[in-house]
Structures are given as C-alpha cells and as structure tokens.
Amino acid sequence: MKRAVKSWPSWVLLVMVVAGLLAVGAARDAAPRSPKERVEDISKRLACPICEGESVFESRNADSDAIRVEIARQVDLGTVSDDQIINFIAQRFGSKVLLVPRATGIDALVWALPAAALVCAVVGLGVAFHRWKLAADTIPDDADRALVADALAADASPDADEP
C-alpha cells in the first residue's frame, strides 16, 4: 500500500498540481503597472545622489524628492520607457546613481563574471566527478603501475607512506 502511494503516478500528479498552481500564481502578476508602481520601480533603481546606501525610493531628502517629481513627470508623459528615464537621471547626476550597473563596456563585467564563475564551477565539478568515476571504474593496467612507480621514485621523501 505504502509503496503504491509513492509510485510514479502520484509523482506525476504532484508535478501537475505544482505546475498548475505556479501557473495560476504567476499569471496574477501580469497586470500592467500603475503609474505609481512605475515611479516606485524606477526610483528603486536609482541611488539618492547625496546619501550613502539609500535609493531615491527610500531616501527622504529634498534631492530625492525632486528626482521623484521628475520621474513622475516623465512617467505621466507616457511616452518614455523606464530605461530612458533612468538614463535621463544618470546623464545628469552621473553613473554613480545607477544602482543596477550598465551592461555595456567594462561595467558589463559585473554581470559577466558571475555567470562565468558559475559555468567554471559547474564544469569543474563535472570534471571532478568524471575523474572520480574513471578512478573508481578503471582497474590499473601496467602503464598505470609504471606511471605510479615513476612518480614515487622521482618524488620519494622520507615521510612518504610507501604502499
């Protein structure tokens, strides 16, 4: 009985339930943003130009107020994209207000290097498992033994444990 409950069909059911629920939940998110939400989203991507570690969205000072007013004005125009508004502000206050670094020029490295690191790590892990598998699977032949003997002879040191 217990076996049967945990068999493949119930796993398929589980996957279907989860997929259905995720689809329902994710679809709810798709409503278009209101202008207020747009101002919020944009101001969260910009740093307050005179404070440390606060975004324009969080910061309460006059400069951030002014920037929020400008963002709202441009959002109300309805013709400019989020990125254009962010560029407008960054052109004036400098790229130090961009909390999301650009993906051009040398700045792109901050996006590319993490991806590269992940790929390297995964490939490295794959190689390690491959070598472990080879090590576990192969029975040493004469060439291997010769190799080991050479290495031991070349690198003999007093504290080495001899086989």
Partner: protein, 659 residues
C-alpha cells in the same frame, strides 16, 4: 581632572604595550621551544596568553572608565563621549567608532587565545597545537600593534573646546538597546573564525591534514558561525527598528563584509562533514577556512579604510594600509603553504555519484562559493572601475537581489533534497520514497500561498521549495526522534536540521517581505482617520519633546482604533540632523511600520507619514532564534563516536580527540 586624565591614557598605553609584548613573546617562545625542545620554556608560554588577555581587559576597562568618568583628555572620548549621553549608550559608545571597535575586537581575540591556551596547555609540545597558538598570538599581536601604534586608541586629545567637540556617539547609535548586543555578538563570530584558521594553518605547516585538527576546531567553527549568524540578524533587526527605511538588509559594503565570511563559513560547515565521513576535500576545507578568515580582514579593511562609502563605515585613513598589508600577508602565506603542501595532502578515494550526500555537499559548496564571489565582486566592483577608468559607479541592492534570488532558490532546493540523500549513492527509487511527503509539503505550501493570494513566480517558488525543504528537515528530525529519543535533537546532523528549519523560515520571510511590502504616504490630520490595506490610522496628536541632548516631535497615531504608535523625528542638538525613528506594530502575519517624514512641522497639526505593511517580518527573528538554538543543539555531542574510524581517514592521535 588632569590627574585621572593622564592616568587613563598611561594605563591604557601600558596595557596595550604589555599585551603586544606578551603576544610577540608568546609566538616567538613557542617557535623556539618547539625547535629546541626546551620544555621549561614551553611551560612558561601559557603565561603570555594570560598577560595578553590581561592587557586587552585592562585596555577595554580603562577606556570604559574614561567614557564613564567623561575623561575628555583622551582624543577618543572627545570623539564619542559627551556629557549628556545616557549611561547605556555611553557604555556602548566604546564601539561606536574605529578605535574602540578595534579594542573590542582585541578583547575578544585575546579571550579566544587564552581559552585555546587553557584547553591545550598540556599539549604545547604537539607541533599542531603549537603552530596554531603561534598563529593566534601573531594575529593578537597585530591587533595590539594596530591599537597601540597606527590607531593609538589612547591618544591624548587637544584641550577640549566644548562648543565643537564631545558631541557623543552618532545619533543613530544612541536610540536602541540592540546597540548593546549586535556589535559584540557579531565580533564574537567574526573573530571566532581565527581559531579554526589557526588550526588550518598549523595543519598545513605540520603536514597533518588528517582529521585531528578538525576534531579540535569543528565546534569553534560552529560557534563562530552561530554568533556571526545571530550578529548579522541582529544587525538586520537594528536596521529595521532604527533606520526607518523599512528594510532589514541593504547590501551595503559593511553588511556585505559580514556576509562574506558567513557564506564561506557555511560552505565549510557542510564540506567538513565530507572530510569527517569520507576523508576527502582536505585541502578544500583548509582553503575555505583561510578564505573565511581573510574575508573578515578584507571586510574590516573595506569598511574601516574609507575606500567605500557606507552608512556604517568609520573612516580613518591611517589604518587602511596596515589592514590591507595584513590581508596580503595572510593570503600570501596561506596560498604559499597550500601550493607547497596541497598535492601531498590530497586524499585518496572518490565520490561515487553526484546523487549522494557528498554530491549534494559539493553542489552546496559550489553555490556558496559562487555566491561569495558575486557578493565580493559587487562590493569591490566600483573600486575596480575607478582604478581602470577613473569613473564613479555604483552596484546597488537591485543587482544583488537579482543575482541572489536564483541562488537562494537553488539553495532551498538543495536543502530539500540533501538531507534525505544517503552517503555514496542514491537510487531514484529511494529518492521517490523518501522525498514523497516532503514534496507534498512543498505542494501544500504552494497551494496555501496561492490560496491567500500570493503572486509572482519567484516568491511562489521560494514558498514551495521552503515547504519542500521544511518537510525534508522535519522528516529527518522525526525519524531521529523516533530512533534516538531526545538525543534525536542533538548532534550535528540533527541540530543541523533545526538550523535548516530556521534558515527556511528566514528565507520565506525574506521572500514575502521583499515581494509583498505595501507602502503609501499620507498626511494625517486629527479626527480624520485614513484606511489603508485594511487598517485604519488616526492621528491623535503631535507631541513635542525635549531632553538634554535632543528635541523632537512624535505623532501619536491610533491604529485600528486600539493602541497608539508614535513615530518620531528627533533633532540631536549636537549634530543638527533630523533622525526619523519608526514605530512598528509587530504581528505574526503583518508588521505595520510607521515613519514620520522629516517635512513635519514641529508646531503643526498635520503628520506626514509613510505607512509600510510588511508581511512575515517577525518570522525573520523567529527563524534566527531557531538557527541559534539549532547551532547550540548541533554543538552538543550526538551519538558517541569515540574515534573517527573511517578507513580512509588519517591516523589520529587519540589524545587530540574530544575538545
């Protein structure tokens, strides 16, 4: 006045120089005694640890005495002391700036050194222990040197001019009790990683990377990790209660500096289990400890040298080069030792299958390492661009959020799978069997979230995997309890599962509060309640207040017709800046977080407020407590395994087991 003044300075300087000398003699004496085999010299070494501890204790005590007696002849007291700081914040003012925080660091380091010495004083002739203590003494000596020389914590100040000096600590550091707990606990964790690092270096030097040193340090690493975890969470709590921006974590350089060693330390706590069980990953584990310790020093450099702007930074130009140099020395020595010893120390044996406990630990390590790399890269990237192109850029929270989200989700998935995996190799049938109920827990969590109206793919995935991982951890705990009775809660594996439950709760709370916080601004007027997100808010009155150090105004706001909450704006007369203080109504489902806007008129009748409705925040602290509890449980000895008897592990001196 003048007599005590010079007294504090003199005693402080003397304590530091005695501590410095004791640490240097301790390190040198240990080396000499071990090389020459001089037993008499060896027996005197433990005195140096006590002297160093005494120096650090006296230095901190004298500084506290100077703070409490308001001895403004010292430059540091002029910087952080004031005549009207309340007693509590006057005591905590010790660590409210660079000099005192390094003294606190020094004290904790000296305590660790002394405890290690006390526990091992009979075994100083063991090269492993001796070298570990040499490393501890050296690090202690460095920090004594730092606070005696470059920082000069007990420097005499100019004649105080009370119109401009002696303002007291930063206003943000004098309005919440957490200031008393967060820095010392964080430092206990930060500094605690010195102990396993010292033993790792000793293992490399002596070539004994078997499991002996691991046994000697695993509990130290565990407790350091636990303190660091609690310290970081308390920092988030402080930020939430004090800073008034409604968040707990801002990916600020100082926060990242504490998070980096946490990441590599967490990776170590997992991969060390592979070494204990299978005798593998020895060099990797040592590298992780080296990375953890170097990252604490690098983090201290980043946050204390002023190269990166941060809300928390105490900048002081003089200390940067020393910390950076120390970091360079640590890295160079460690890498040199690894390069020299690494190959000989590598263990035989193979990991048979990626679908196994050790495979999951490896995946965990890869992800934590990549995570640490990303956080470090994002933190120093502005400096790299500045060096290459002389241009200022920022890497802010949206960057870190975007990259850490998939990482967090992957980690939750691993937390779901890994606990049920057996060592060596797992079959699909076994997984199907063991993961069945945990997976349905995940589906249940997802169903509940969708039912209560959650949206967005990322948070839903987090809730689902949180349920899945929670199911897996609970399954392990239940099985252990059934098998071992109350002992099913203690020991590393079981305590680890309790920690996992805490982590899952924290992750779910973070996902919910980051995704579903609602915020709006209102101008409240008396007698005109507004309603927002199902709650009503009514201004009772605006109330001005004043005390010796500040004036301010608070808005009494009645929430839901019941209790009143009072967000405030305080102007500290010494500083002139307006400090908003939020007021929070905690709830199991939602926190209501009220802040008063700086534009409020003190004599007005209107209260411009910002209202945040933040879901599940309380669970961050509950999860944190569970993590702390789990750490303590994991520290208790579990099922007795007197000798680690895995066939591939190195021979172990029996007397070194059991610390």
């Amino acid at each position: 006045m003048l007599a005590t003044a010079s007294l504090n300075g003199i005693v402080g300087h003397a304590a530091l120089i005695i501590g410095l000398a004791a640490s240097v003699f301790g390190a040198l004496g240990l080396v000499i005694a071990n090389v020459t085999g001089d037993g008499r010299l060896l027996r005197t070494i433990s005195n140096y640890a006590w002297m160093a501890l005494g120096g650090a204790v006296v230095a901190v005590a004298v500084m506290e005495r100077a703070l409490i007696t308001r001895d403004f002849s010292l430059a540091y007291i002029q910087q952080v002391g004031s005549r009207d700081t309340p007693a509590l914040f006057n005591v905590t003012a010790l660590w409210s700036a660079l000099e005192g925080s390094i003294l606190l660091w020094l004290l904790i380091l000296a305590i660790y050194t002394a405890v290690i010495m006390k526990r091992n004083r009979q075994r100083l002739d063991d090269p492993l222990v001796a070298w570990a203590l040499v490393v501890m003494f050296t690090v202690t000596a460095f920090f004594f040197f730092l606070s005696f020389g470059p920082i000069d914590a007990f420097k005499n100040g100019p004649v105080p001019d009370f119109t401009r000096c002696c303002l007291g600590p930063n206003p943000l550091l004098q309005n919440h009790i957490l200031v008393l707990f967060h820095p010392p606990i964080l430092y206990l964790g930060y500094v605690g990683f010195t102990v396993p690092f010292a033993f790792a270096i000793a293992a490399l030097i002596t070539g004994r990377v078997g499991e002996g040193w691991l046994v000697a340090t695993r509990r130290w690493a565990l407790y350091a990790w636990g303190f660091l975890t609690v310290g970081i969470l308390l920092g988030g709590w402080w930020s939430y209660e004090v800073l008034g921006w409604g968040g707990v974590w801002g990916w600020d350089p100082v926060e990242n500096a504490s998070f980096l060693p946490w990441l590599t330390g967490t990776a170590y706590l997992h991969s060390v289990l592979v070494q204990e069980r299978r005798g593998m990953l020895r060099v990797w584990n040592i590298s992780l400890l080296v990375a953890t310790f170097s990252l604490t020093i690098l983090g201290t450099f980043i946050t204390r040298s002023g190269v990166l702007a941060s809300v928390h930074a105490f900048s002081n130009g003089t200390i940067g080069p020393y910390l950076l140099g120390f970091f360079g020395v640590i890295v160079a020595v460690s890498l040199g030792l690894i390069a020299w010893r690494g190959d000989r120390l590598r263990s035989p044996g193979a990991i048979d299958s990626p679908i196994s406990r050790e495979g999951a630990f490896l995946a965990n390590n890869v992800i934590f390492t990549v995570f640490a790399f990303i956080v470090l890269l994002g933190t120093v990237f502005p400096l790299i661009v500045e060096a290459l192109q002389n241009r200022q850029i920022a890497v802010g929270p949206p960057f870190f959020d975007r990259l850490s989200m998939p990482i967090g989700i992957t980690l939750l998935f691993l937390m779901a799978i890994a606990p049920v995996l057996p060592w060596r190799k797992a079959s699909t049938e076994l997984l199907r069997d063991r993961l069945f109920w945990p997976a349905w827990c995940g589906a249940g969590a997802l169903a509940i979230s969708v039912f209560v109206g959650a949206d967005g793919l990322a948070p839903l995935l987090a809730f689902m995997l949180g349920g899945f991982a929670g199911g897996a951890a609970t399954r392990q705990l239940l099985l252990a309890l059934r098998r071992q009775g109350w002992r099913g809660l203690v020991g590393r594996a079981n305590g680890g599962m309790v920690v996992h439950l805490g982590v899952i709760i924290v992750a779910v709370a973070l996902a919910a509060s980051n995704s579903y916080t609602r915020v709006a601004e209102f101008t409240l007027q008396q007698g005109k309640p507004v309603s927002y997100q199902g709650h009503t808010f009514e201004l009772v009155k605006l109330q001005q207040f004043a005390d010796a150090r500040s004036t301010g105004v608070k808005a009494l706001i009645r929430v839901d017709g019941g209790k009143s909450y009072a967000p405030a704006i305080t102007t500290f007369t010494n500083f002139g800046t307006k400090i908003p203080t939020p007021s929070v109504r905690n709830g199991l489902l939602n926190d209501l977080y009220l802040t008063l806007e700086p534009s409020v008129r003190f004599d007005g009748t209107e209260a411009p407020v910002k209202i945040y409705v933040k879901p599940l925040i309380v669970w961050l602290w509950i999860g944190g407590m569970l993590m702390a509890a789990g750490t303590v449980l994991a520290g208790f000895p579990g099922r007795r395994r007197r000798v680690p008897t895995d066939p591939v592990s190195a021979p172990i001196e029996l007397e070194s087991a059991g610390v």
